[in-house]
Amino acid sequence: MPDLLLELFSEEIPARMQAKAADDLRRMVTDKLVAEGLVYEGAKAFATPRRLALTVRGIPARQPDLKTERRGPKIGAPDAAVQGFLKATGLKSLDEAKIQKDAKGDFYIALIEKPGRAAIDVIAEILPVIIRTFPWPKSMRWGARSAKSGSLAWVRPLHAVTATFGLETEEPDVVKFSVDGIEAAQTTYGHRFMRPARSRCAVSRITRPSCSTPRSCSIPSDARIRS
């Protein structure tokens, strides 16, 4: 099953806030995944002065299909109630409804099937909301966008978002979303002084420094401090 890699790359996060922020990120993303029916195998968050990162392993590629029943009017109910029931459930006629008996009489029941969506699309909706509502103790605005109300607030200026989703053995897909003009992508940046180059995340894993798997993600060394 596919893995999610998320990295939020910013200017220096106050030291006292880093560990909790990593925990918050893991909790918020995984809670939301589960709420969307995406039960994962494992998750781990990382923090450094300039990064919050998260890997979630073993996410199903699709949400399960959802089947729900909805109780409608009694048999013989006025036409207005029947029409309202058909409209609300999307049934073409009462022939498509089941009939269920209980103590109060016979009722129409609609079976509604909601097909699961691709996990990557669900994640692309979840992540920008989490970023916009992230519980920093104090957050700030910056740059030209701060001229307008509703601009993103973050603990310090946020510069890049890396978000990929895919199997460990394959080239992952970028989770496509943007927050306040920052497009999620597959590129991250090195340590400010030690390794300032840009690099590309080939798979959705953060690896330990000792790991030399050829396809390991090239997140630079400061991402590993808390691994």
Partner: protein, 312 residues
């Protein structure tokens, strides 16, 4: 840098150090201003920062500001503490995305290589109760010593910054001492010359530190200062009240924000002197700070109704 004569190199002379910073920020598109001609506690008080941080129009400036902290005088006997010192101030509005990189490059321009020294950005939330201002950012450490402050202004003079300006403040003496490798501020080489031609920071400022310490702590005329505070406060309010006009399109505009703000600066410095003389009690202190803040806020409000400060 190689073309510079030795005596102008930032690691050899205090003046060369200042010039190197000015040149660097000029190259980034900043207007290089001269110090404001009034006594103030920090470069942030300069209207080029306080007032220009407000309003939507872009503004990039850098300048040296002599900063007076009457309480910090030590009669010239402390190797680090001064009642008059220099801040180098940079303001960029809106804050550019690479402001941190520019700051690090500016350190390189004065001889501090980030690959060799341990540079850190350490949490520091800035607040000025007298200016009604706050921002988030860092104190910048070089090998464990605070050498600059880096702030993204969120609010100044009670007005929300939109867009946000980035502000850098370098403690010039401290940085220059580090770069020159001296332990006592008065030993700084000021002009980069050696032997008989050498002028030190002490040659320029030691006597002033001694005299002003005496003045600030012992002799400053408190009756006059109380009166000056009252007069500055009154004048500020008077200029603010007289400056409002009905502009075109029924918009209110203000025509005297700058002269009014000068009186706010004046009141703030006079308060600092009174504070150093020890004639203001703890409870009075809060009230004086509040009175200066009220002036600053009223000036900010006026400024955003001027030609330069208003929204288009």
């Amino acid at each position: 840098m190689d073309a510079l004569p030795d005596h102008m190199r930032p690691e050899r002379s205090f003046q060369g150090f200042i010039l190197a910073l000015q040149r660097f920020w000029a190259e980034q598109g900043c207007v290089i201003l001269q110090p404001y001609d009034m006594e103030m506690g920090a470069g942030t008080f300069h209207p080029a920062t306080t007032l220009r941080a407000l309003g939507p129009k872009p503004w990039n400036a850098a300048y040296v500001q002599p900063s007076r902290r009457p309480k910090d005088g030590r009669y010239g006997e402390n190797p680090n503490r001064l009642q008059h010192y220099y801040q180098f101030q940079v303001i960029m509005k809106p804050s550019p995305p690479n402001l941190q990189e520019l700051y690090l490059k500016s350190l390189a321009a004065i001889g501090i290589d980030a690959a060799v020294h341990d540079i850190r950005f350490v949490e520091d939330d800035w607040e000025s109760p007298t200016l009604g201002a706050w921002g988030l950012g860092w104190e910048c450490w070089c090998d464990g010593m605070e050498v600059s402050q880096f702030t993204y202004f969120q609010q100044v003079a009670g007005v929300e910054c939109a867009p946000v300006a980035g502000e850098l403040t370098y403690g010039l003496e401290r940085l220059a001492m580090y770069v020159q490798g001296v332990d006592r501020v008065y030993d700084l080489n000021f002009n980069g010359r050696e032997g008989a031609e050498k002028v030190t920071y002490g040659d320029v400022f030691l006597q002033a530190e001694q005299e002003y310490s005496r003045h600030n702590f012992e002799y400053a005329d408190t009756a006059m200062l109380f009166e000056q505070f009252r007069m500055a406060e009154e004048a500020c309010r008077k200029y603010l009240a007289s400056g409002w006009r009905e502009g075109g399109n029924q918009k209110k505009e203000h025509l005297m924000a700058l002269p009014a703000y000068d009186q706010c600066i004046k009141a703030s410095h006079v308060f600092n002197l009174l504070d150093a003389r020890g004639v203001i009690s703890v409870t009075e202190r809060q009230s004086y700070i509040g009175r200066v803040r009220d002036l600053a806020k009223a000036c900010g409000e006026a400024w955003i109704h001027t030609e330069t400060g208003r929204a288009v």
